[in-house]
């Protein structure tokens, strides 16, 4: 009888051994219209004046000692290393003071809350209104709410210096459209929604994956097969290349409800609706190389009509892709990012070499690539210790990361960049 009961208990255990779902994250509802309609937008110069490294007098417990404050288009962003959080705020000047409201969000957990910040006339507001000085000493003063806390807590930041930068420039590249940890963001990986959100996370670029459907249409999707990790919909199983775009559009959605985007639609949206300046196409399907290159041409033509500066890199991650690219009649029509050996980088005339970080700093090769006029992007950098080491000891032109907020916070606040 004991054995019988044991077996019954084992069956019960197995039947209940399901992975628990992540709780949905509910962003605070902010009335941005109320603040933008009652303030004057900052000029580009005023935004540059505000950009900088700030130290926290209040709010250290939640967000650490030092943060990066950076304007991205109309949005005021703050990136923190501690708790890896980003702030998204809108607002502007009111006479010789300024006011901003928005929300903050920890990207590695469900924490979120509201934020309101002011610049008083006596704490840098007058200089900001007049466009005087470099903004050092400017004080952002306000409060944040936190989950489970009834009362807002004070937050006070003071600008101490300009953001760290790099002469050659640097790309913060959001992996899979903005970060693989997207299940915490309410936006699916490789969705158009995540690509348009990536700059809020601190990304200046995004890497997206490209597969072909059965009817030869490039779509943005990471895995070769449909699985519950990436999609909702019971009937599409097995290889993505088994299904037409119409079947995919009709019977499946990404895990957060978005459509699987076609490459062309996604890139057009990135051009039209985001500030992303580089897109890395991580091509997975040699069958659709010509279609991808044709789409690249159409999107770049569209960008030109919009006077939009953007670089879309045709990625070559495998020998199969390399062979397909080299045989393509459209070879040479798009800038290439090559992840293979140096001979392949040179033969494909790649403008970017992208080694994996586990190969180390490779300083001599990176220097040689720079001499040849090529950039070097390293992937995939998620660990803070590695990011700091590669930023300070290496000479890379960009990192692909699942945590653009973390990379942005570390990059902009570093003191000893090359």
């Amino acid at each position: 009888m004991k054995t019988f009961l044991f077996l019954l208990a084992a069956v019960t255990l197995v039947m209940n051994a399901c992975v628990s779902e992540l709780a949905p994250v509910i962003y605070p509802t902010i009335d941005f219209e109320a603040i933008t309609s009652t303030t004057t937008p900052l000029t580009i110069e005023q935004r540059a004046q505000m950009n900088g490294i700030y130290i926290l007098q209040e709010g250290r417990n939640s967000f650490g000692d030092t943060v990066a404050v950076r304007w991205d288009g109309e949005a005021l962003s703050i990136y923190t290393v501690k708790s890896v959080s980003f702030f998204y705020a809108r607002g502007g000047m009111r006479a010789d003071s300024a006011r901003f409201i928005g929300y903050w969000r920890a990207v590695q957990g469900p924490e979120t809350g509201e934020v309101s910040l002011n610049i008083l006339a006596s704490e840098g507001g007058k200089d900001l209104a007049a466009g005087k000085g470099n903004g050092v000493g400017l004080v952002l003063r306000g409060e944040v709410t936190s989950p489970g806390s009834q009362r807002p807590t004070a937050m006070v930041l003071t600008k101490i210096k300009a953001l760290a930068n790099r002469t050659r420039g640097f790309e913060i590249i959001g992996h899979r459209g903005g970060g693989r940890n997207s299940e915490r963001l309410g936006k699916s990986e490789n969705s158009t929604e995540l690509m348009l959100f990536a700059s809020q996370l601190g990304a200046t670029a995004c890497e997206i994956d490209v597969y072909g459907t059965s009817d030869g249409i490039p779509v943005v999707f990471h895995d070769p097969t449909f699985t519950p990790r990436t999609v909702r919909g019971a009937y599409l199983i097995g290889d993505i290349s088994n299904y037409s775009l119409k079947q995919i559009r009709g019977f499946v959605r990404l895990v957060n409800g978005e459509q699987v985007p076609t490459l062309e639609d996604a890139l057009m949206d990135v051009v039209d609706k985001s500030s992303i300046r580089t897109v890395w196409l991580d091509n997975k399907d040699p069958r659709v190389v010509d279609e991808i290159l044709a789409i690249h041409q159409r999107v770049m033509d569209h960008a030109a009509t919009k006077r939009r500066s953007i670089r879309i890199l045709f990625g070559i991650p495998t020998v199969e892709l390399y062979d397909a690219y080299m045989k393509s009649p459209l070879k040479g029509t798009a800038p290439v990012l090559c992840e293979l050996d140096l001979a392949s980088v040179r033969a494909s005339n790649a403008v970017v070499w992208a080694p994996r970080f586990t190969d180390g700093l490779q300083s001599e090769i990176v220097e040689q690539m720079h001499k040849e006029g090529r950039d070097v992007y390293c992937w995939t950098m998620d660990d803070p210790a590695f990011i700091v080491r590669f930023l300070t000891e290496g000479d890379f032109d960009g990192f692909c990361t699942n945590y653009p907020t973390l990379l942005a916070a570390l990059f902009y606040t570093r003191k000893d960049l090359k």
Binding site: M1, T3, F4, L7, T225, G233, Y235, Q247, G250
Partner: protein, 205 residues
């Protein structure tokens, strides 16, 4: 469903009572003997999906059917081991072309599976509980309005469990009610089937 469970409970109670009264209709293992047996079971099935099956509806529950076959080796112990297979229809849905503007043609979708599992079971009196460990050949079929039929099959890890109560027909045959459960946790599919089960001990040694 409640009626079926009540029937099973009544069968168990009546059998236990019959055993206490010296009745011999309940299955009693032949002690000191090993045996090979085949059993089949089948019945209607209710399938529960964790998520909606298509973006076109909110439906998560479907009627299907379950048929299971097992070949088991009974050593001279309470635990027996064998192989479980069969067929299970999880869901089938039909859509008109008005339902799917993007396709502009009617479609019928079917999700079915063939389990292939290691079966472990235990008996106590006429009561038997079984666990199937292994997976399912999960198959999805699209039948389009233009008569195109497209099937895709993958192997998916899953488990099953069966609980039955058997009544002897004769020395080798027995029959009884069974509850059959299929779980494909990665796919978010749980299926429960009240079944009728028949068992034949075809070799005893």
């Amino acid at each position: 469903m409640k009626r079926i469970l009540l029937m099973i409970a009544l069968c168990i109670i009546s059998n236990v009572a019959a055993k206490a009264a010296g009745d011999t209709t309940a299955v009693v293992r032949h002690v000191q003997q090993s045996a090979l047996e085949i059993s089949i079971s089948g019945g209607p099935q209710r399938t529960f999906f964790r998520d909606v099956t298509t973006p076109l509806t909110d439906q998560r529950q479907f009627w299907g059917l379950s048929a299971t076959g097992k070949i088991m080796w009974h050593p001279d112990h309470i635990l027996s081991v064998g192989v479980l297979t069969g067929y299970t229809l999880f869901s089938t849905e039909s859509f008109t072309k008005d339902d799917i503007p993007v396709l502009n043609e009617p479609f019928q979708l079917t999700l079915e599976a063939v389990p292939l599992q290691l079966a472990l079971s235990m008996q106590s009196g006429g009561f038997e509980i079984n666990v199937g460990l292994g997976g399912y050949f999960l198959s999805s079929t699209f039948t389009g309005g233009n008569a195109v039929r497209q099937a895709n099959t993958i192997f998916e890890i899953g488990v099953s469990a069966q609980a039955s109560y058997m009544f002897s027909i004769d020395d080798a045959f027995s029959i009884g009610p069974e509850v059959n459960v299929h779980l494909l946790s990665n796919r978010g599919i749980l299926a429960v089937a009240p079944c009728l089960r028949a068992k034949w001990e075809f070799l005893r040694y």
